[in-house]
Symmetry: C2
Subunit: 308 residues, 2 copies
């Protein structure tokens, strides 16, 4: 009998469903647009159908449980709490709903934490006990591992690096405050940065990346400015947890050198001497959203047991 867990990555645009072996191999994967599930009951139904379908196809497999990574997911309560980018409003007891529907034990945490677990078990942070994992997507998410343990905080809400205040009274942030890190360092923020530098009003970070690749000065500057800010933020995080490495993940991170180079330069300039020249910043190499699926599945296996 093969032993597997279900790993689910809930995103603002897509929801991914994966079946993962206890060796960290994804043996089945599907996805669906988030907007197809205007209420969480529809989503739970879709997950349940996938599990039934998989079980019928592969009867000799034992499903150990379900792990979910979701924006504003809280590991203590199993709830998604006021996630601005999801159609489901308020507090959603998603872990409980999935368990009731499927009979499988469900563990839920925030999407960045799940992806950080995935990196620790199967990716760039393998064997690393102290690292900082940053997702640069529409917003900026983070998962922080210290001494081999995820920092969840007393209420499960640790790791909101995107909502540290970088510039008091600065840009408006989606959270209702001003000057948050994610208003400067994210795929949506770079659109504003590009515009403020004198660029056109474009609608995707990918477009700015394409222009930078074609050598457009303003687009390159927009990445440089973003890297300057990001390097400062990462240096400030290092002063708190002193990680061994930093892993960047998500769409904006895929820009590669045009972002990484100014980020590292600013990072080293802003580090206290004792931290300099020893903390690599690495871009995640796990394909697509695999780290979130893998990390979520690892939660279901029980992270301690499956850590390797």
């Amino acid at each position: 009998m093969k032993c597997v867990a279900i790993g689910i990555d809930v995103g603002g645009t897509n929801i991914s469903f994966g079946v993962v072996t206890d060796q960290g191999e994804i043996i089945y994967k599907t996805h669906s647009p988030t907007h197809q599930y205007p209420i969480p009951e529809d989503f739970v139904e879709w997950i349940s159908q996938n599990i039934v379908k998989f079980s019928v196809d592969q009867p000799n497999v034992i499903i150990q449980g379900i792990g979910v990574g979701a924006p504003n997911g809280n590991i203590h309560s199993g709830q998604i709490v006021f996630a601005p980018n999801l159609p489901w409003k308020g507090e959603i007891s998603l872990a409980q709903m999935l368990t009731t529907q499927t009979g499988l034990q469900t563990t839920l945490t925030n999407d960045a934490n799940a992806a950080a677990w995935g990196e620790m078990l199967y990716g760039a942070a393998r064997g690393c006990k102290d690292f900082l994992f940053i997702t640069l997507g529409t917003g900026l998410g983070s998962g922080i591992v210290s001494g081999g343990e995820m920092i969840y905080g007393h209420d499960g809400f640790a790791g909101e690096v995107g909502h540290m205040i970088l510039f008091p009274e600065g840009r408006d942030c989606g959270c209702g405050r001003k000057g948050c890190v994610e208003a400067y360092c994210s795929a949506s923020a770079i659109l504003l940065t590009y515009y403020e530098l004198g660029g056109e009003n474009v609608c995707s970070a990918q477009e700015i990346f394409n222009r930078a690749q074609q050598g457009e000065g303003l687009a390159i500057q927009a990445f440089e400015q973003t890297g300057n800010w990001l390097g400062l933020v990462l240096a400030n995080c290092v002063a708190v947890t002193s990680p061994e490495k930093i892993i960047l993940f998500g769409g904006l991170a895929q820009a590669g050198e045009v972002l990484l180079s100014p980020t590292i330069k600013s990072f080293e300039n802003n580090l206290l001497t004792i931290y300099r020249n020893k903390i690599p910043i690495i871009i995640s190499q796990l394909p697509g959203n695999d780290s979130a699926i893998l990390g979520a599945a690892a939660l279901a296996f029980g992270t301690k047991a499956s850590r390797r």
Copy 2:
């Protein structure tokens, strides 16, 4: 037979030596000015003499080991590393030196971490597994506990909140960079703040406190401004580790309400909604440097065993 540990707090001005029971009672305490020990060998000799004297006086006591809290102390290496406020320069293998001289196992960590342990075992953080401990002295030190574990980082240098950059290109910091938190939120920083607000060039934070107590507007403003900055810094730290409470310690914290009130106001204003109105900021109630001695002794007992 009574079982005790030696707890030592090394400060820039004074060194304190305490003998602590496994119940957390300080049964003997003495101190000496740091400048009396221009080389670490002199300090080790003084500690050794104290231990011998104590052992002769109380022959029925078993000394379990020595714990030391020192600026720039590193728990992994047992070294004090380039501490700007100590007479001992470079890298000092103090734990090894003490063990060689006394035959007692020695554990060394940074002074703020030792004091944070003391608060967790015997003070305001008793029973608390997630808290942020801030010392407001000449500089700003920090000890961060997450899930009941001290965050040491991969190299033992975590918890340098005083060297997060608050204002890029801001005030000169003793570390050689600009804009660090401790250049705005510390006993030495408030002298500059007071002066910049138009106050006299006074030589101690105590003097500004006295003036604030007498109702001098500029002195009160200096505390308000310091509290505004400190509240922002603490809110940013919460976004990383989501603590249950924050404990302020050290000379400047003793100012009490005149600092605490603006700090809490700014803190709440700068917090992300999910953290608001639930994280108390408390001033340490342990007398003098007892928390550092207690925490250092707890290290010697083995923190896990003595955690209660």
